[in-house]
Amino acid sequence: MKQVKSYTSKDFATDQEVRWCPGCGDYGILKQVRDLMPELGLEREKTVFISGIGCSSRFPYYMNTYGLHSIHGRATSLATGLKMTRSDLSVWIITGDGDGMSIGGNHLIHLLRRNPNVNILLFNNEIYGLTKGQFSPTSEQGKQTRSSPWGTVDHPFNLSALALGADASFFARTVDRESKHLRETLRQAHEHKGASLVEIYQNCNVFNDGTFSAFTDKERKQQNTLHLEEGSPLRFGDPEKPVVLTWKNGAVGAEEMGASDPGSHWIHDPYDRAKAQALSRLSDDMTYPRPFGVLYREERAVYEDLLAEQQKVIAPKRTADDLDALISGDAFWQVGQ
C-alpha cells in the first residue's frame, strides 16, 4: 500500500492570488478549510472542490486539490455525477445563497434526498456578491438592494427548514468569524456519511456589511446565538445567569437556568427530527436565539453505496464475451458461412 503523504495547510494553497474584496468573510472560511484538510488526513489528489458561480464559488481556485468552477447553480448536480462514478473521492461543494438556493435550488434539494456522501458549504451572505448587490432568496423582507430599491417583497427561505423538508441527513450552521466553531462544524460534516449541508453565515462587507453582526458582535452574540452541543442543554445569554430552553408538549419555552428543574431542560439531540424541526424554526420570529452547530443528523443509506450494492448484485464481472453477446443480442442469424 502506498504511503499516505502528510500534508500541511500550506500544501493546500495554490499559487493563485486570492481575489476577494479586502475584508470579505470568504478569507476566513478559506483559511479554516485549508487548515482542516491535513487534519482530516485528506490527500490533495483524492479531493475535489466543485463550485457554481459567485464570489464564494471562486473558492476552488485557491485550494490545491482537483477543482471545478462550473456554472451558476449546478455545482450540486456536477458533484452528483462525479460522486456516483468516483465514490473514492472526497467531494466538497462550494456554493452561495444565490447559487445554491436561487438558480440551484432544485439540484440542492434533489441532492439532499439522494444523499450522496458529499459536503456542501453554502456561503450565505444574504446577497448576490459577484453581480454587485442584488437581494437573494435569504435576504430579509424589505431589504433595499440594487434590484429592490423600494425593498424586497419576497419572503426569504429558511435554509435549515428547507433542508429538513428535503430530507437532508445532516444540517449545521456556523459563521465565518467563529473560526474554531467553523472548523469543528466542517469536521463533523466531513465525518457524517451522507450529504452534509453546512450553512456558513458570511459577511459581504461590500454589499451587505454587518448582516450577521447580531451573531458575531461581542456584545450581542450571547443573547442571540444558541450553541448546539449534543447532550448539552440549550442555553444562551449571560454565562453567569444563562437562560435555558425547554421543550414541553412540542412547544418551546425558556427559563432561567438556575431557577428551573433540570429535568425540563431541552437537551440537544441532533438525531431527533421533531426537535430539529423546532430548532429550524426557533428564531423565525426572533423571539429566540439562532441555533449554531449541528441541528440535525441521521444515518441514512448513501447514494453511491446503494448503487454499488445494486451493481454487485446484478453485475458478475463482465468480459469481452459479454460485450459480443450484447452486440449480437439473442436473435441473430448468419448469412453465407
Binding site: T14, Q16, E43, R44, E45, K46, V48, F49, I50, I53, P60, Y61, M63, N64, T65, Y66, G67, L68, H69, S70, I71, R74, S77, L78, A79, T80, G81, L82, K83, M84, T85, R86, D88, L89, N106, H107, H110, L307, Q310, Q311, I314, A315, P316, R318, A320, D322, L323, D324, L326, I327, S328, G329, A331, F332, W333, Q334, V335, G336, Q337
Partner: protein
C-alpha cells in the same frame, strides 16, 4: 379461387389496429421471421398520439410498417402493398397509405356499427365497400370470431381469447407471404413459458390463421420475396436507439472507461435511458436526473472524474442543456450529447420525426463554442455514429453532438454487426502520475489537451467556465489570450476532419449533373430515389453527409464536380444554408416539415423537376 404464387422484389406491409391489439408485437414477429428468411428490410412503428386514447378511436390506432425485399431496402416504404386493418379506425385512417390496387386484409368483426362510431364515422357508411370501390383488393376475414372459435376449448377468459387475435392475423399474413410460423411459435413458447394456457392459445391461433390462408382461398395471389443478396456475416435486427446504446457501451469498453449516462425521460430519446439502465451488467451507470440540466452537468462531473460521459434528450431538453454544453466546450472535457430529434418547435409533435434541430446543434450556444456534430443515417448506422462520436470526444477532448431522430430511433433494419475485436481501441490522452508535470491546457500536435483525472497525484488542477490562459488554464482576462483560446478551440475541432476518410458519393453519377446532398435519416429515401433515376439514365448522384461539423475538407471539391445541387431536409433548409454559405453554390432545398420522412417519390419528383427546369 386458389392463389397463384408471385415473386416480388420488394413488399411493404402495414399492420394497423387499436393500441390494445398488439400490432407492435405482430409487426416485430413478422420482421424477425422476414429477417431470418434472408430479406433486407426496414421497419417503422407509428403511434400517433402520446396518451392512450379510448379503444377503437382514430387517435388510438397503432401501426407497424415493414418494407422488405430481395434487393437492398433503404426506407420503411413509401406506399403500402398490404394493409392489415383490425378495426374501422385503423382502416379509415391508414387507407390512404395504400398503393393503387393494394391489398386490404380487414377484420370484418372490427367494422361494425360500434367500431364505426368509435372511429368517428357515420354508422351508415360501408367502409369495406368504399375500399373496394376505390379499387383496392379487399379480403375481409372475421378474425375476431375465427379466433374465438379456434379457442372454444381453451380455459382462457373471453378477454384473453380476444387478445390472441393478432396471432391469427400474423398466421394469415405469414401464409400470404410464404413464411412459416415456427419462429414465432418458439418465441411464444419462451415468452409464455410459465403461462401454459396463454401459450397454447396463441400458438393455436397462429396456426389457425396460417391454415385459414391455406384453405380458405381468400387471396388472388400468394407472394414470395426471395432472399436478398446480403453480404455474408452475422446479422440481427436492430432499432436506432438500441444500436446507439450498444455503440456507447462498446466505445466505453474499447476505451477502458466506465460509461456514465445521465438522462431525463423524453420522447423519443427515453429508450436510450431504458436500454442503458437495463445494461447495468455491462458496468453502465444510468442516472435519471431531476431534469436535463442536472443530467448534462452530472455527466460533465463524471467526465471530470474520468468516465465516458453521455447524455441524451430531444429538442426541448437539448435547449435546456445548451448553457452547460458551453461549459463542456470551455473545459475541453469529453462528452457525448445525443439529440433524438422530434417535431418542433416547443413541445411540437413529440412522437413525430423531424430534422429541425440542426441549427441548434451547430449554433445554439452563447459565444464561439464549436463542437463536432455527427448524424445517424439509419437505425444500424446509429451504432457506428455512437462509437465514432465517443472516439472523437475522447481522443479530441471535446463535447460531441449526435443528431438522430424519431424515425431512426424507433425504426429497425438488419445489422451486420461486428465482433468487438474488429473495432479499434479508443485512446483518450490520459495524463498519468508518472508523466511528470501537468499543464492543463498544453496541447499536442492535434491541439488536444491532456486529461488528468482526480486521483492522479501531482496533477491537481482547477478548471472552469471563465476564459483561461493558454497552457496553464489559469483564469485570464487578457484580450489577446482570449482571441488565441477562441482560435485554439476552433482549430482543435476543425482538426477532427483530418480523421475522416476521403469523401465519396453514395450512389449514382460520380460527376456531372445533379448532386443530392442528404444528411441523417433522409439517407434512405434519397438513396432509393437516386438509384432509381440513375438506373433510368438520369445524371444524378447522392452524397450523404455524416459529419455536419467540421465539414470534410474535400467536400468542396466533390460539390464542384456537379452543376446542380439539391438538399432534401425535414426542416425549412438548415443544412442548405450551411452548404450555400460554405461553398457559395446555388443549392436548392426540398423541405418537408410534416412529422414524417420523405417518400422517395417526393425526392424523385424534385430531382426531375430541377433537371427539367434547367433544360
Amino acid at each position: 379461387m386458389k392463389a397463384g404464387s408471385k415473386d416480388l422484389a420488394k413488399a411493404t406491409v402495414l399492420f394497423a389496429g387499436d393500441s390494445g391489439d398488439g400490432m407492435q408485437l405482430t409487426g416485430g414477429q413478422f420482421t424477425q421471421t422476414t429477417a431470418l428468411s434472408g430479406n433486407d428490410l426496414n421497419t417503422f412503428p407509428d403511434f400517433p398520439a402520446e396518451i392512450r386514447a379510448p379503444a377503437g378511436t382514430v387517435p388510438g390506432v397503432s401501426g407497424f410498417k415493414i418494407h422488405f425485399g430481395s434487393a437492398k431496402v433503404y426506407t420503411a416504404g413509401d406506399q403500402v402493398d398490404t394493409l392489415v386493418a383490425m378495426n374501422a379506425a385503423a382502416l379509415s385512417s391508414q387507407m390512404d397509405q395504400l398503393k393503387e390496387g393494394g391489398l386490404i386484409i380487414a377484420n370484418s368483426n372490427g367494422m361494425d356499427a360500434r367500431n364505426l362510431r368509435l372511429a368517428g364515422i357515420n354508422e351508415d357508411r360501408d367502409l369495406l365497400g368504399e375500399a373496394e370501390q376505390r379499387g383496392f383488393e379487399l379480403v375481409s376475414v372475421e378474425i375476431t370470431r375465427l379466433t374465438k372459435e379456434a379457442l372454444k376449448d381453451s380455459p382462457l377468459s373471453n378477454k384473453d381469447k380476444d387478445r390472441a387475435k393478432n396471432m391469427f392475423t400474423l398466421g394469415l399474413v405469414y401464409w400470404l407471404y410464404d413464411r412459416e410460423p415456427e419462429r414465432t411459435e418458439r418465441f411464444l413458447e419462451k415468452r409464455f413459458a410459465d403461462q401454459e394456457d396463454i401459450r397454447e392459445a396463441n400458438i393455436k391461433v397462429l396456426r389457425a390463421g396460417h391454415h385459414y390462408g391455406e384453405t380458405a382461398e381468400l387471396f388472388r395471389n400468394r407472394f414470395s420475396v426471395p432472399p436478398a443478396d446480403l453480404a455474408p456475416g452475422r446479422y440481427r435486427n436492430i432499432k436506432g436507439n438500441q444500436a446507439l446504446s450498444i455503440g456507447l457501451i462498446t466505445a466505453a469498453h474499447k476505451s477502458g472507461l466506465e460509461l456514465f449516462y445521465a438522462g431525463y425521460p423524453i420522447t423519443p430519446a427515453s429508450d436510450i435511458l431504458h436500454e442503458l439502465a437495463r445494461s447495468k451488467a455491462y458496468g453502465v451507470q444510468a442516472f435519471q436526473a431531476e431534469d436535463e440540466i442536472a443530467a448534462i452537468t452530472a455527466a460533465i462531473g463524471a467526465a471530470f472524474g474520468g468516465s465516458l460521459a453521455v447524455t441524451a434528450s430531444s429538442g426541448p431538453g437539448i435547449a435546456l442543456k445548451t448553457e452547460a454544453l458551453g461549459l463542456a466546450v470551455m473545459l475541453e472535457l469529453p462528452l457525448v450529447v445525443v439529440n433524438v430529434q422530434r417535431g418542433g418547435p416547443s413541445t411540437g409533435l413529440p412522437t413525430k420525426t423531424e430534422q429541425s434541430d440542426l441549427g441548434q446543434a451547430l449554433f445554439g450556444r452563447n459565444g464561439e463554442a464549436p463542437l463536432p456534430v455527427l448524424s445517424c443515417a439509419s437505425p444500424k448506422d446509429a451504432f457506428d455514429v455512437a462509437f465514432e462520436a465517443c472516439q472523437i470526444a475522447l481522443e479530441h477532448m471535446t463535447p460531441v453532438m449526435i443528431l438522430s431522430d424519431g424515425y431512426i430511433a424507433n425504426g429497425s433494419e438488419p445489422w451486420k454487426f461486428p465482433s468487438s475485436s474488429e473495432l479499434p481501441e479508443i485512446q483518450p490522452p490520459v495524463h498519468k502520475a508518472e508523466d511528470g508535470d501537468y499543464t492543463p491546457y498544453k496541447r499536442d500536435e492535434k491541439g488536444v489537451r491532456k486529461w488528468a483525472i482526480p486521483g492522479t497525484a501531482g496533477a491537481e488542477h482547477r478548471i472552469g467556465g471563465l476564459e483561461k490562459q493558454a497552457e496553464t488554464g489559469h483564469v485570464s482576462y487578457d484580450s489577446e489570450n482570449h482571441q488565441q483560446m477562441v482560435r485554439e478551440r476552433k482549430e482543435k475541432v476543425e482538426r477532427v476532419a483530418h480523421g475522416y476518410a476521403a469523401q465519396e458519393v453514395s450512389c449514382g453519377s460520380k460527376k456531372g449533373g445533379l448532386l443530392v446532398i442528404s444528411w441523417g435519416s433522409t439517407y434512405g429515401a434519397v438513396r432509393t430515389a437516386v438509384e432509381r433515376l440513375h438506373k433510368n439514365g438520369i445524371a444524378v448522384g447522392q452524397y450523404h453527409l455524416r459529419h455536419l461539423h467540421p465539414l470534410p475538407s474535400d467536400l468542396g471539391k466533390l460539390i464542384e464536380r456537379y452543376d446542380q445541387w439539391l438538399i432534401p431536409e425535414l426542416n425549412e433548409g438548415q443544412l442548405l444554408q450551411l452548404i450555400r454559405s460554405t461553398y457559395l453554390v446555388d443549392a436548392k432545398g426540398l423541405n418537408k416539415v410534416q412529422g414524417v420522412p420523405f417518400a422517395h417519390r417526393e425526392v424523385e419528383e424534385a430531382i426531375v423537376g430541377m433537371i427539367n427546369e434547367k433544360k
